[in-house]
């Protein structure tokens, strides 16, 4: 396998709604930021791949328009996944492994604000038996939280503590949408939003995105002093059938973690995409991380959740910490599908 690294990360300042800009206008400055970090341009890029969802834009082929933000004329080598940007990064990593590219621009984004996001997310459920009931994403996550509580794996107070810790950590993240949290006791006094989830257990609705640049070997070293090398990356999927799954575990996280080699060294930092508070424990346990690992120092998806970008942001947050020397080895995680059904794990490492 070729050595491939993340060498540039650029995020938007995530907000609840960005009505004054369309998707192109939102995405273009993010991509420009990724280039600016390196003094690079589209002509330095061999392959471009993005992740987004038409259902969030509210129109078929929405990604076609956002290509205008890239600078695709003269024509470029480009692809798109209807998945989180983390999977776009995976496609770019595979492309570089084939030897057909040495560099890649990857981006993921969404404007969730125009629609009713929890109800929109229900459209990805089984179309025959579940979707007609319109169970929103908060209610579906509530089923999982209830299973966690009843199996004794977590308490409502522990869930509130995750939310509190995440949003307090987000005070140090200039891109975060929610910074700071009321004390845990105060959080627990709030009414349920979707029993047993309270508002603090849920991610915000976010407009925003992220762009990342990948490079192989010496190309990466020529751009930055300390590239964040991808030492392992893998993704796996579990069954969709909520009634047949043990919702308190995520086998696909554990499998992807084993394939990516999470346990092959000490983990300094982990950024996991756990949009609901109770999900952090499921993911961290499946990754096999100990208590000494710093989890979601950015605040995670509880502080900003631009769907289709939030997974790639996790990889970017880990890469940023390796590039700036505050971590030597870290794990980025992305999820998709209801109740952590599909998962990607990426191990990133600095050298020297």
């Amino acid at each position: 396998m070729r050595d491939v690294a993340i060498v540039s990360v650029s995020q938007s300042d995530h907000v609840r709604a960005l009505p004054e800009r369309n998707e192109v206008e939102m995405v273009q400055p993010i991509i420009e930021g990724a280039f600016r970090n390196l003094g690079a341009s589209i002509s330095d890029i061999d392959f471009v791949c993005s992740g987004s969802s038409d259902y969030l834009a509210g129109q078929a082929f929405s990604f076609v328009m956002t290509l205008d933000a890239v600078g695709a004329f003269p024509p470029i080598v480009e692809s798109h996944v209807e998945m989180d940007g983390a999977w776009a990064l995976y496609e770019a990593w595979v492309k570089i492994q084939t030897g057909h590219a040495d560099t890649a621009l990857v981006y993921g984004y969404s404007k969730a604000s125009p629609g009713d996001l929890p109800r929109v997310m229900s459209r990805q459920l089984d179309p025959y038996y579940q979707a007609p009931l319109w169970p929103d994403s908060v209610a579906i996550a509530g089923l999982q939280a209830r299973a966690m509580i009843e199996s004794g794996k977590i308490t409502e107070a522990e869930m509130a503590a995750v939310a509190h810790r995440s949003r307090e950590a987000a005070r140090g993240n200039p891109h975060a949408q929610l910074q700071g949290s009321a004390p845990v006791e105060e959080l627990l006094a709030a009414p349920y939003l979707s029993d047993p989830l309270r508002r603090h257990d849920c991610p915000p609705i976010t407009d925003g995105g992220v762009a990342v640049i990948l490079a192989a070997g010496d190309r990466a070293r020529s751009w930055v002093d300390r590239p964040a090398w991808i030492r392992g990356i893998d993704h796996r999927v579990d069954s969709h059938n909520l009634g047949a799954r043990d919702l308190t575990v995520a086998p696909s996280v554990a499998l992807a973690a084993a394939k990516a080699g999470v346990a092959n060294g000490k983990v300094d930092v982990a950024e996991v995409y756990a949009p609901f508070s109770h999900q952090e424990k499921i993911v961290v346990d499946a990754l096999g991380l100990g208590d000494d690992v710093v989890v979601n120092p950015s605040g995670g998806a509880l502080a900003a959740n631009p769907v289709m970008g939030a997974g790639l942001i996790r990889l970017g947050e880990v890469a940023q910490r390796i590039m700036d020397g505050t971590a030597d080895r870290g794990v980025g995680h992305a999820t998709a599908g209801p109740c952590l059904q599909q998962n990607l794990v990426c191990v990133l490492e600095g050298e020297g």
Partner: protein, 389 residues
């Protein structure tokens, strides 16, 4: 790096306007099981699944892949979804091939599908304000002006489109899976069919189909093992290429887009093709409206600019011609949009494997699969051969 990749299994569904006899997972599994059977494999032998389709709004399902995980035998495996507009079937096959080429996996199952009967593609493709100026004319209304411009530039006779439509629909009679089987079709019946988007007549337009295609792609050793079992040679991938350009850009030529020319040049370079007209035996190209056959013949370098229609008129692109195009009946006879590109790639592979049945071109050794999408701005191509690259 750059490991050899072979196509060792191809399976297609019966295509039709409405496949009301199967559920969505049932439709896709029809293609998957045929592909696995073709390769003498089972789902257990598959390392990863790469699936593609066009817009989720066509079926009213947001990112349906997680729902399909069990039906695809993907639980516990990587499951990957590609979406690059109308070229997606081709792009998906290329992404799947790259997993094997990179050495990440040994055997990858790739699928393209669409269930267009659930919605109305015409309106799903007519974008509303505020996204862009409202056309409310579907894909045909969008492409008709560029066809007229091609006719003006090339001075092509007005009936070239009729000849293409007649040829493809007659070819479809030799393809048992094709959606449209019109045994009574004639030059006059195409000519007399009503005008939809001048100059595109009803019979010069692709149908709206339900259907799926699946392929198994394998590493060199896995492909040879499969071939030893099935007795059918793999279709070896000699090159893959994708190019994209914006829908609108100053200086962009929508009649013969740069992205298509660059895509063709890239894939020919990889395959060692210096004279495509001489070295390619058969082409499956994405022709949703009849006139796109001569237009793409020029764009892809099979004819000089302005001369593509001469190949069509002289019968060169017929099944028994010197450069057969769309022997399967093409998109003009079958169009589940998300599958259509992969059907082109799969039919090209069938030709060099010698498994195309009644629409087989004798002695086909090198074939081109082509797909395009969006506002003629996304291109995907592969070259497959009977011999190892």
């Amino acid at each position: 790096m750059a490991n050899r990749v072979g196509v060792i299994g191809i399976g297609q569904t019966q295509y039709s306007a409405v496949r009301g006899d199967v559920s969505l997972p049932g439709l896709i599994r029809e293609a998957v099981f045929r592909a696995l059977e073709d390769a003498h494999l089972t789902m257990d032998d598959i390392d990863a699944v790469v699936i593609g389709k066009a817009p989720d709004f066509f079926e009213g399902m947001m990112m349906p892949e997680p729902y399909l995980a069990e039906a695809l035998g993907a639980v516990g495996k990587p499951l990957f979804r590609v979406h690059t507009a109308g070229s997606v079937g081709g792009s998906t096959a290329i992404v799947a091939a790259s997993h094997v080429e990179a050495g990440v996996h040994e055997r990858v199952l790739t699928i393209g599908w669409q269930q267009q009967s659930v919605s109305e593609a015409m309106w799903a493709l007519s974008f509303p304000i505020p996204f862009q100026q409202q056309l409310v004319a579907g894909a045909g209304g969008y492409f008709a002006p560029f066809i007229r411009e091609y006719m003006r530039r090339s001075n092509a006779p007005e009936d070239i489109g009729i000849l293409v439509a007649l040829k493809d629909r007659l070819n479809a009679l030799k393809n048992p899976y094709a959606h449209l089987h019109e045994p009574d079709i004639t030059y006059d019946s195409v000519k007399e069919s009503f005008m939809l988007w001048e100059p595109i007549r009803y019979s010069e337009t692709c149908p709206s189909s339900d259907g799926a295609i699946a392929m198994v792609l394998a590493s060199e050793s896995a492909a040879e093992a499969s071939a030893a079992s099935t007795g059918v040679r793999p279709a070896w991938i000699h090159g893959t290429a994708m190019r994209s350009e914006p829908a609108t850009a100053n200086g962009r030529d929508q009649v013969s887009p740069d992205a298509g020319k660059l895509c063709a040049a890239d894939v020919y370079r990889q395959a060692g093709i210096t004279n495509p007209r001489e070295q390619v035996d058969v082409i499956e190209m994405y022709v949703p409206f009849s006139w796109y056959e001569p237009m793409w013949l020029e764009n892809l370098g099979f004819a000089p600019e302005g001369d593509g229609w001469r190949l069509t008129e002289a019968g060169v692109t017929q099944l028994d011609g010197d450069l057969p195009v769309n022997c399967s009946g093409g998109v003009l006879s079958t169009n589940p949009i998300g599958a259509s590109g992969m059907i082109r790639f799969g039919e090209a592979a069938m030709q060099v494997r010698g498994t195309a049945g009644d629409h087989q071109v004798d002695g086909a050794r090198t074939a081109v699969g082509h797909a395009y999408g969006g506002a003629a701005q996304f291109f995907a191509m592969w070259v497959v051969g009977a011999d190892k690259p």
